[in-house]
Symmetry: C2
Subunit: 454 residues, 2 copies
Amino acid sequence: MPQALRILNTLMEEHLAAEKSDPVRETLTPQAIRAKLDLDLRATGIPFEDLKDELRGIMAVTPVTANKSFYNQLYGGRDPSAFTGEVMSTLLNTSMYTYKIGGVHVLIELALVKRMGEIMGFEDAEGTFLPGGSMSNLAGMVVALNNAIPGYKTNGPQGKIPRVYTSIEGHYSVPKAAGLLGVGQANCVKIAVDERGQMLPQALEAAIVQDLKDGLTPAMINATTGTTVLGAFDQIAPISAIARKHNVWLHIDAAYGGSFVFHPELKAHFKDAGLADSITWDAHKVMGVPLTCSVILVKKKGLLTQAMSQSASYLFQRGTDEYNPGTRNLQCGRRNSALKLWCAWRVHGDQGYTKRTQAMRNNALTAQECIQDSKQLKLIRVPESINICFEAPGVDTDDLLDAMLSDGDAMIGHAQVDGRTVVRLVLLNPEVSPSDIRVLFATLSAKAEALAKG
Amino acid sequence: MPQALRILNTLMEEHLAAEKSDPVRETLTPQAIRAKLDLDLRATGIPFEDLKDELRGIMAVTPVTANKSFYNQLYGGRDPSAFTGEVMSTLLNTSMYTYKIGGVHVLIELALVKRMGEIMGFEDAEGTFLPGGSMSNLAGMVVALNNAIPGYKTNGPQGKIPRVYTSIEGHYSVPKAAGLLGVGQANCVKIAVDERGQMLPQALEAAIVQDLKDGLTPAMINATTGTTVLGAFDQIAPISAIARKHNVWLHIDAAYGGSFVFHPELKAHFKDAGLADSITWDAHKVMGVPLTCSVILVKKKGLLTQAMSQSASYLFQRGTDEYNPGTRNLQCGRRNSALKLWCAWRVHGDQGYTKRTQAMRNNALTAQECIQDSKQLKLIRVPESINICFEAPGVDTDDLLDAMLSDGDAMIGHAQVDGRTVVRLVLLNPEVSPSDIRVLFATLSAKAEALAKG
């Protein structure tokens, strides 16, 4: 291990420097990377010291995600306190299934579940950490199916056809989970949205009423707070009224937007979150914790364990289910995802996340101004949170983004809005300042102008 | 980040020393830990420097899993090269859904899938990394369901009742996945085993024939190579003949035992693995990579992607599915689990894993001898691999193991065999030597003798 720590210190310092000196890297083709690097596995090993050079080669062609030129995904930046916690988790290597092996880390996970539940309006939530929002949404759907069809875990759908509802702007993990869980993607009903990207409650209710008439079993409504493309928020109050009226499980996919509960204005979108039955909330997005860190919260205690548990006498040996999180999780052996978030939260406090989300939101408002002031750019929607969708009329969006990438300016993603490919800029790195945003948009405008001239 | 690296260096050195000086820690109650440590999340943060002391407190009560006194789980030890890769993954924070963001790490994952497939007898496997063997087994079952019931992903079971088969010694993740995926745990048929813990092929075929008569749909046979309690291996050849005859998907759960493919004798259990349709293989168990590192391998290319994929225009933007592993994975945002295994494999080579598994197996044979030579201990089964199940007649197994733990000798687990609670010692740390084993058994014998006298 002393050699490992020495190699790591060298490589980490080099990488932190390279992130600044070489911030935006053009995407090399698989062929180009394979021509440069030997990636094969062999019968004979190499000296550990040589691994340092091999890792250097890999680092040099790795897309940089932790600097101020990366606006491509719903994560970004790097939180030193979370990083510290994550490396310690790797060193301690505790598996999060039982109290015997997890010990204090189980208590840390419980403390986070309790606090995150309380913030969302669940008095005493049951919950656990899962590897990403897709898995948390899937877990929420499993609980919903067991709620709608008693005995689902033991006997499956028993001839019933469960239906789940999400908006056309909802994350693809919801229909995907329906496809995995035996619901069928065709039984995931996509509900229309308004101009702002919010699910239309009347359309939702109409779909449920029709399904009930057709003898189908409405099992789950998924409301999205923080949609992937527009960063929009479904309205919980009217949706929860429909859920209650028709006795349908209400899940909130707050994987992306959940952390805006700390923002002085955006938190209004969560004032009725406690009316839901379950919530997905990721900390590896807006809270900046290393991948992955997602929590599933269930309001009524016991339902998550009931839907997930499977006895295993060699494993769950003593103690109560509360302290054996394996009984309420999809996974068995499980990496510790709680410590990194706990470390970050201890250091920042709720107040730190308020400041963090305020910085992001201010950048979004600055970006909106820049677009409105630019002759080359056109805003597609007023940003609901920190996603800015815009285009350069007369310029192909892909060409504009390719030019930004190949010139080393920034890596930015695109999305489909109103049937067109537009720029989707997401502002998740709190180190980005309003003046960085102004520089970015000056570059975008100049490039758009040049491309328009051809 | 400089502060984080400084804090980490201090804490890592302290922990490595503490693992030696304080190797076995008694399990503190949740109440005792909460009395000692403040784990609450607050509105106001703390200085980053203070996190160091908080982490010290947490480390001091964390169960130690990486030293030679830990025999409790199907993982143990610490591989410095894998550790190096894992910390670099955390620093680079690449999400493994698209080539645009994953880049070279996607190619590393593909190289591992190809090599691991070839070793198991799949010429050109399709595969991906998942967070643990339970998730890989679940993914295998998803593909099997889509194979048995065309359109499962789109329309669910369509009135059919799928059935899956695994032995009574198989891992609990198989019936658990059946419960999650809409199959129903009651439709997971548990097949009897022989004295050695191998699934009885005749009993398997009888169950399938009966189910076909009853109009049910046999969807997957799960063969286990490396059972959790006995470390036993199902026989692939006769099971695959049954699978072929009745046209049922054959999945091998080699989560635990897969790495014994490197052992000169134990590899015989894998000579027919290529006859299977899919295989789960974990690297965080016998190969000693940090949690979690599991791969699902599917023999026929395209089936995994077909069962998992869900279109998402904002995400899977360009390039082919081959280089966008998100299209064949349960997860969306995904931690890089491939780099750590790649680092370890480059350093050790296949030959290193041969030596590693030989050391483990030699320890198992030494343990067998020690038990056979002891008047106090009785072997329950001749070890099939590296699990040693034994008891001290006249002594309660829990009492014996509690004494070992509270006296600071070792943390060892127990299991149910033949309806009794017995000791299940697993020998996954290759740094343990035959002389360590002899010392361990001298202590076990002495403690058993003392307890027998009362």
